[in-house]
Symmetry: C2
Subunit: 613 residues, 2 copies
């Protein structure tokens, strides 16, 4: 009998070792659903997807869009209650406030009839719903929480225009200039920087320019591996169409389902697979910016140039301040021969960082590699279903190996997820380099499935914010780029300041802080924080949240972090700009705008142009 | 006897195959001499090095600075005579004209005493020699040939200032603004775009600002793999100092011995090993530009940012128009574990291009890979010494294999040289990928020695221009970036136009045209042309040269090439700018200058600011 059990145990261990060391997959599975769907007006994503209770102590994600969908999660509520120290029960949920009644649109007859004549009814939106949707991005507290639970936005656009061609855009810019109407370019509406918030002091008519009907790929140049697409194309549309031809842009920001090419350029976006495909500034060869003073562009994309200051340089990070980006020429790549996932566990976060640094210096970075801290690792585990009896035993053996045999601890273990793409040979070689080096740093391969799951989580998990908001849990992600030797300083300082600030404001329970390294560069990394705390019982919870966030941003700067790695400045970080840029630099950017937009038609007021800057 | 010969032949063949397939080297040999030396006033490089006759039909390179030095070249004169169809004999050489007498320096007493007081005698140069040296770059015909053989430059600077600190630079900019004196930043003086030529219509005093005393590395941050250096540091100094600490910047433009960090930024320079280390825009994380309106900079370098329009974007390609770049923070890399060379022969240039395209798509690019056309391949062979008897037989067997067994022809064979750097494993892997793929494209490995020689040639061969000038042979290199599918169109059009134009101008002999692919990008390549013809007997040879060069530039644009890959615009390509950039883009750059330099102190007049633009 004992012998029989031993045999079973040995079989389990072997099965487990096989499971843990298998890197494969290999097929080009998509980590998000390529189908379209109806989107929420204000919340994140598609209406088929939301976190909801399916029992008093369990939740599930509706629909079947993501791998996270359709099963009961028994560990989620206990985990959140444990880390936040507040109850997560249906009884704690609050109702949304009634949607605000919008002030009447400020639209004089002359402009109204000019746009009617030029665009016709079907390219003009005037409903309160459309106006409200186009007046915010996805800032969790300032925009979404405020709109749903406090009572609306301070200022909203007066009208929405849907251009369908570059000519429409030029016509609109001309009309706006003539009638002194403010234009705010709108892409996917996914920014988390307040970039779409209407400047409160603006007295002119404000028109939102929704670019999403400019969503065609104009040309695919397979010989030169480049494509020209209209700026309103979403990442999902772009990848779907390129994919059908056997290509990819390789640009995969977390918002890829909804964000647009124009948005990527104007925020200087970063994609998770930048090690292989580059960030937006590497991917976009040229683009066209339509301004009141004419187009700013280079007439033809070429592989690389030395022809004086490059016009394209002004587009990246322009955040809508100069004009409307109408199209871009981007690099495209043949779909990789193989895509494989991997996952590693490290006993401590510091070891994971040391591994990443060495891997970067050795030139071994795969398409994507991310390192999540212990909290985020446990959070990922909390989103699992109840295991089958067999899986439960496997899990137990896995834990035994990790925590008893290998010396990991549940309080310090952290995880690293990997995407490798390329030729079979390239990927095989990467795998060898990565997994050998990981061993030197105390890392243990924990199987491709976990790696794949990590990337799948990215897309489904975005919906969790709107679940939490119902409990008055205020949360946001914020990110920075940090030199290698300041990573732990920045993290420590953020943690300390968050504890201090939430105590100061007498926040209920415990603040939540998780973080991960999402990008690796030669001189450092991007750290992506997720922070949250309960706003229940606070007087002006949104303002408390603001104070706390602001103080965290300052300690990041004080400890060597940058102001933003990829979210941008918009309206929430502009007050820090003078700490990072010289006055001379700021003045040049102002004058450059003066050249493109002398009447300040694009008065969106982001970055150095923000009110009070 | 016959049998004995057969055995000898077989041994030779085996020895040859071994020689041809050996890739190695492995040690980190330098491909240029890291020692300093006295430089020519006007010609290229160090005074210890020149091409000269060492017999009526043979030449050698003096000194021992380069591997090309110190041996008799018996094939060189016959080759040049063959391709150019003109005699190359000592009797054909012409004498340099007497150096022009410079107009008196325009220096009013107030400015003179202000700079005397601020900088003292030892930081001010007033001699005719210093003034002349600082009034040109290395444009072969417009600058060097004109100066040495026609009779001088149109306009020269009035004084030279040698700042020794960033404070000196700021003081000087302030003084110049106060006294309305024009400043022209001077780095290595190696540009080939006329960037240092004084605008002829300028009526104010012109001061050259020689930055080469600002040549210190201010900080090496080994933890974060970055270093901050003053802008006047030459590539040679930078690499020597970094190398002593075990690091490299990886930036190796052909001018690396003499050109400076500030020059690399302001011309948007490219280095031969950009596949591994990046071009200047990838290497330089941040830099400081001192302008009359204050500094333009980001206060701290960080790994990557999304913080609005980046000030640094305005520095790349600024060509001295905005102010003086004083320092930069660059990425540094540990010296690679191994460096290995390789060389391939392809039966035809087209096959080499197809190979490069596939290698790029497969992600297999080594640190550097170059493909030279047949003419340039033969030119490289012509720079060899007489072989030893043993080597002569090897050569003959090698030729037998190539031309008889493998089907190559002497008229079409072309060569590809390779530098691989990295960890031993990385390089081994690259080697496998490269040499296997080359076989698929008809390529044959011809040994590491040939590869290494190709890179050595780069530095020694720069001196050849000044040898040719003595025979009234006018020549220049010019470059473009071209999408993959236009490479052969561009080359064909250039060849055709050159033949047509030189016939039209009744040029003596045959024009010389060689070209190589020096850089590979995702969407195309850089083509680097070398063109030359005899100016003997022409009325205004320099103007004929100009016409021809101009017409070639236009056909490059007409056939899909870019205006410049890395040489920049300066004063020789400005008239084409309106063909590549929109008027709106040009206007923004003008306004940006207005913000930084409202009194046009930096009236160097390059690119969009050139006279007549």
């Amino acid at each position: 009998m004992i012998e029989g059990l031993t045999i079973v145990a040995v079989i389990f261990i072997i099965a487990l070792i096989v499971a843990m060391t298998r890197q494969d997959g290999g097929e080009l599975d998509s980590y998000y659903d390529s189908s379209d769907g109806e989107c929420y007006e204000h919340k994140w994503g598609y209406t088929d997807t939301r976190f909801e209770f399916d029992g008093p102590r369990t939740v599930r994600v509706t629909g079947d869009r993501y791998r996270l969908c359709g099963f009961t999660m028994p560990y989620f509520v206990p985990f959140v209650e444990e880390v936040l120290g507040v109850p997560i029960t249906p009884e704690e949920m609050v109702e949304e406030v009634e949607r605000q009644r919008l002030p009447e649109a400020k639209l004089d007859n002359a402009f109204r009839s000019a746009i009617d004549k030029c665009f016709g009814r079907e390219r003009i939106g005037s409903s309160d719903g459309e106006r409200l949707v186009h007046s915010h991005g996805q800032l969790s507290v300032d925009e979404i929480y405020r709109l749903l639970y406090i009572g609306g936005l301070q200022k909203v656009v007066d009208v929405v225009i849907y251009p369908e061609s570059e000519k429409d855009v030029r016509d609109l810019v001309e009309l706006a200039t003539e009638h002194e109407v403010v234009l705010i370019p709108y892409g996917g509406g996914t920014n988390v920087s307040g970039a779409l918030a209407c400047p409160t002091a603006e007295t002119r008519t404000i028109a939102s320019v929704d670019m999403r009907r400019l969503n065609r790929i104009e040309a695919v140049d397979e010989e030169n591996l480049q494509a020209t697409a209209q700026a309103g194309i979403t990442g999902k549309e772009l990848e779907r169409e390129l994919g059908a031809l056997g290509y990819t842009s390789g640009h995969d920001p977390d918002s890829v389902e909804l964000s647009t090419l124009g948005g990527w350029i104007s925020t200087n976006a970063s994609g998770m697979k930048k090690n292989r495909y580059g960030n937006s500034e590497d991917i976009v060869l040229e683009a066209t910016l339509v301004t009141p003073s004419g187009d700013v562009k280079t007439h033809r994309a070429s592989p690389r140039n030395s022809t004086g200051v490059q016009p394209r340089a002004l587009l990246f990070g322009s955040e809508g301040n100069f004009g409307i980006i109408t199209k871009g020429t981007i690099k495209i790549h043949k779909l990789p021969e193989v895509r494989q996932y991997g996952a590693l566990a490290f006993p401590r976060f510091e070891q994971g960082v040391a591994f990443l640094k060495q891997l970067s210096a050795d030139g071994g970075l795969p398409a994507s590699i991310r390192l999540v801290n212990n909290t985020e690792f446990r959070f990922g585990q909390a989103l699992k279903p109840s295991p089958s009896p067999f899986k439960a035993v496997i899990d137990r053996v896995q834990k035994f190996i990790l925590f008893k045999l290998k010396g990991f601890t549940p309080e310090e273990i952290c995880g690293c997820t990997i995407v490798m793409e390329g030729t079979r040979r390239e990927v095989e070689n990467q795998k060898e380099v990565i997994f050998e080096l990981a061993k030197d740093h105390g890392g243990l391969s924990v199987g491709a499935k976990l790696g794949q799951r990590g990337y799948m989580l990215t897309f489904g998990i975005a919906y969790i914010r709107d679940f939490f908001n119902q409990f008055q849990l205020l949360g946001e992600t914020f990110e920075t780029s940090v030199p290698w030797n300041r990573i732990h300083d920045v993290i420590g300082a953020v943690r300390e300041k968050l504890v201090e600030q939430t105590a100061h404001h007498q926040v209920r329970g415990t603040p939540y802080l998780a973080y991960r390294v999402t990008q690796v560069y030669h001189t450092g990394v991007c750290i992506y924080f997720t922070m949250g705390f309960s706003g229940k019982g606070l007087d002006k919870a949104d303002e408390v949240y603001h104070d706390v966030e602001h103080s965290l941003r300052q300690v990041i700067l004080d400890h060597g972090g940058s102001l933003s790695h990829h979210h941008g400045i918009g309206k929430v970080r502009h007050s820090f700009l003078s700490q990072i840029q010289s006055q001379g630099a700021i003045e040049v950017i102002r004058q450059a705008k003066g050249a493109m937009d002398p009447k300040n038609i694009f008065a969106i007021g982001n970055g150095v142009f923000a009110e009070g800057n």
